[in-house]
């Protein structure tokens, strides 16, 4: 009776130590100037955010290739180490833990989706690492007290619709929309865009008649659409990612609701959008932080190289990834170092005090890492989506009221 149980106990004790010790370890590497600079990234390659996650990945890869083609950073080649976090917060933390603690990468850059940025930025902070990220656009990212975080895009979510709000509030009283319905995904980014606009329009006296928030996994939009359609607002605003925006538009169209203006974040700029809603896109608005035609110096090179590498033009997600790379590269060149330890603080300090030229324009940050800017507004005109705001960048005039969809 005694020995089997005792053996079990030994097994428990030993496997605890041995198995754990066996599955990592022995990754100590000496630093030398010939070694590549390893950049650790965790991205959602599967799960809820896999589509945008893959877009960001392409952006990072394009940046690494462009940089290496030009001789690398500080004369060292750039190597990406990308892990999949399954769009899962537990995983994203374990990933960065592994990248920093076990793989000893030299730099880390951010994952996709606001929900994953906060936990991963904390890991970086507690290891004293610089953390530039392409996707943490919501307000709460910047009030966590992170000192190592920088958002590599022109504007945070709440400011995406700034140009549209200005335009609408400047309309004469007779034309100005009087009632608006908002439907937003319960996601810091998506909701941030819709609520940013809501706040500005309400302050301008435009009445909110429907305000719906739905969880990310909602699939049936029939009842939300019914509520909106029966309230007959002049304008409908969707704080959407991709599929939820499509579903909501289809549900609204099933009810034959015709607003004077319809604005949805993210979804309408996707290449598959028109096909997904049966080409009934007429007049739909969307904010965007990136345009292939933008006149910034590095953008031309980016579009060219990206198209050559992937056989298609870059979209916003790809641009975000690329921008992140550009920001980190600028800091590394300026500080003259790229490894864990004291170097990281030099990189952070430099970014706090300087401006970086990127494919989305010059970027600079406040103390919390928040960029200072706004998004452009695009509208579906015919079979194409065109920039309509701000006036100095427009490719077409904003059509209001919009044609029936």
């Amino acid at each position: 009776m005694r020995s089997p149980a005792r053996r079990t106990t030994w097994a428990v004790a030993l496997s605890a130590t041995l198995l754990l010790a066996a599955c990592g370890g022995g990754d100590e590497e000496g630093q030398s100037s010939d070694d590549p600079i390893v950049v650790g990234i965790s991205l959602p390659l599967t799960g809820d955010f896999s589509e945008p996650g893959k877009g960001v990945q392409e952006g990072y890869e394009a940046w690494a290739k462009t940089t290496n083609d030009k001789g690398g950073l500080l004369g060292r080649q750039v190597e990406l180490k990308i892990l999949d976090d399954q769009s899962n917060a537990d995983r994203v933390v374990a990933d960065y833990e592994q990248l920093i603690g076990s793989d000893q990468v030299d730099l880390v850059v951010g994952p996709f989706s606001t929900r994953l940025v906060v936990p991963s930025a904390r890991v970086a902070q507690e290891y004293n690492m610089l953390f530039v990220e392409p996707a943490g656009a919501a307000a709460e990212v910047f009030n966590q007290g992170f000192k190592n975080l920088f958002y590599a895009a022109p504007a945070v979510a709440d400011d995406h619709y700034n140009h549209l709000a200005e335009y609408l509030l400047a309309l004469p009283a007779g034309q100005k929309p009087t009632t608006v319905a908002y439907a937003a995904m319960d996601d810091p980014f998506a909701q941030g865009t819709a609520y940013g606009l809501k706040k500005k329009l309400e302050a301008g006296g435009v009445k909110t008649v429907v305000d719906e928030v739905y969880p990310p996994n909602t699939t049936d939009f029939g009842s939300i659409a019914a509520k909106i359609a029966s309230a007959k607002p002049d304008m409908v605003v969707g704080g959407s990612q991709y599929q939820d925006g499509v579903n909501l538009i289809v549900a609204l169209q099933q009810l034959n609701y015709q607003p004077k203006l319809a604005a949805f974040s993210t979804a309408p700029t996707s290449p598959e959008f028109a096909k997904a809603i049966g080409n009934k896109t007429a007049g739909i608005l969307s904010p965007t932080g990136y345009s292939q035609d933008a006149p910034y110096p590095s953008n031309k090179e980016f579009v060219e190289k990206f198209t050559a590498q992937f056989g298609k033009a870059p979209e916003e997600d790809q641009a975000n990834g690329y921008t992140t790379g550009q920001v980190v590269a600028a800091a590394v060149e300026a500080a003259g170092c790229a490894e864990q330890g004291e170097c990281q603080q030099k990189l952070i300090d430099w970014l706090h005090g300087n401006q970086v030229e990127t494919v989305v324009g010059p970027l600079s940050w406040d103390a919390t890492g928040k960029p200072q800017g706004a998004h452009m507004i695009q509208q579906w005109v015919g079979n194409d989506i065109k920039i309509v705001l701000p006036a100095e960048a427009k490719e077409a005039d904003l059509v209001y009221p919009k044609p029936a969809w």
Partner: protein, 295 residues
């Protein structure tokens, strides 16, 4: 106070949804009646069927409804196989508990394989008639929702006729009501149970196709279906097909109406509130089921 039109619209939507719930709950009730098995994988098969319909539509370019020609017989066979190959081999004493785990494991595997094959991205069938709708006394009813409801109604009616009018249905009902007695009068209860499982899974094939017409699908979606379905069969009284159908329509309607004041997410909780209330107040269910007490 919501407007009359919105109320009417919600009632229509609720009934259409309830129809689909009723069909799926009928399948779950069959399994429970036959073997006292709570089939967690039922809604995973539902999503599988929806994916197959989506694949048919996207890759083969034919109408998703045609996928049923393959999925219904396929699922029937899978059901027979599942019952004969796995569930009937479990020890009777622990059958109820262990069958839950087995079917749970199957659900995980289906979810994982779907994720592997089609990725976790949300998918939706693009139909030429996807945004078409009919006008009905001021309410708009989407054509795809009507088709889905029609499928559910026809299958339920078919199931009813099968159970009441055919030799097989008679054997099935006898097996459900008293297995030993059924065996005594010469019914091959093992075979009947297998076919009953096949029939249950076939409802998932029809339901999945109906579902795919009008909603987005993703691999882990089945958890959002199994909860309400389990609540429905408990409220309806475990093992009572008619009770399940009544509970399905009622709860579907309640969900749709509650969405007006409470919003989509809170409205879903109606199922779980009903489930807990049923178990705390009247474990045998509200619609005459008589099996729940001991399980």
């Amino acid at each position: 106070m919501p407007s009359g039109a919105l109320l009417f619209q919600s009632i229509i939507l609720g009934l259409l949804l309830g129809g689909l719930y009723a069909l799926l709950a009928a399948g779950l009730t069959l399994y429970f009646g036959i073997m006292r098995v709570v089939m967690i994988a039922h809604s995973a098969f539902l999503i599988l069927a929806a994916y197959l319909a989506w694949w048919t539509s996207t890759e083969l370019g034919i109408d998703p409804l045609l996928s049923m020609v393959v999925t219904v017989p396929l699922f029937f066979a899978a059901g027979v196989l599942l019952q004969r190959g796995l569930l009937s081999r479990l020890r009777p004493v622990t059958l109820t508990m262990m069958s839950v785990l087995i079917t749970f494991a199957i659900a995980l595997m289906i979810e994982g394989l779907l994720g592997y094959a089609f990725s976790g991205t949300q998918r939706r069938i693009q139909l030429s008639y996807g945004t078409a709708s009919l006008e009905l006394f001021g309410a708009r009813v989407a054509v795809v929702k009507l088709i889905a409801f029609g499928l559910a109604a026809v299958s339920l009616a078919g199931l009813y006729v099968l159970m009441k009018r055919t030799q097989f249905g008679w054997a099935l009902r006898a097996t459900i009501q008293h297995r030993d007695a059924a065996r005594l009068v010469g019914i091959d209860t093992e075979r009947t149970a297998g076919f009953g499982f096949g029939l249950g899974l076939a409802t998932a094939a029809v339901g999945g196709t109906a579902l795919s017409l009008d909603t987005t699908i993703y691999p882990s979606l089945h958890w959002h279906w199994i909860g309400p379905l389990m609540a429905i069969i408990v409220v309806g009284g475990l093992g009572s097909v008619a009770g399940a159908a009544a509970a399905a329509l009622l709860l579907g309607l309640a969900q749709s109406l509650l969405q007006i004041p409470m919003g989509a997410t809170w409205a879903q909780t109606v199922f779980y509130v009903a489930l807990f209330a049923t178990l705390a107040i009247r474990p045998q269910g509200f619609f005459g089921g008589r099996l729940a007490q001991r399980f």
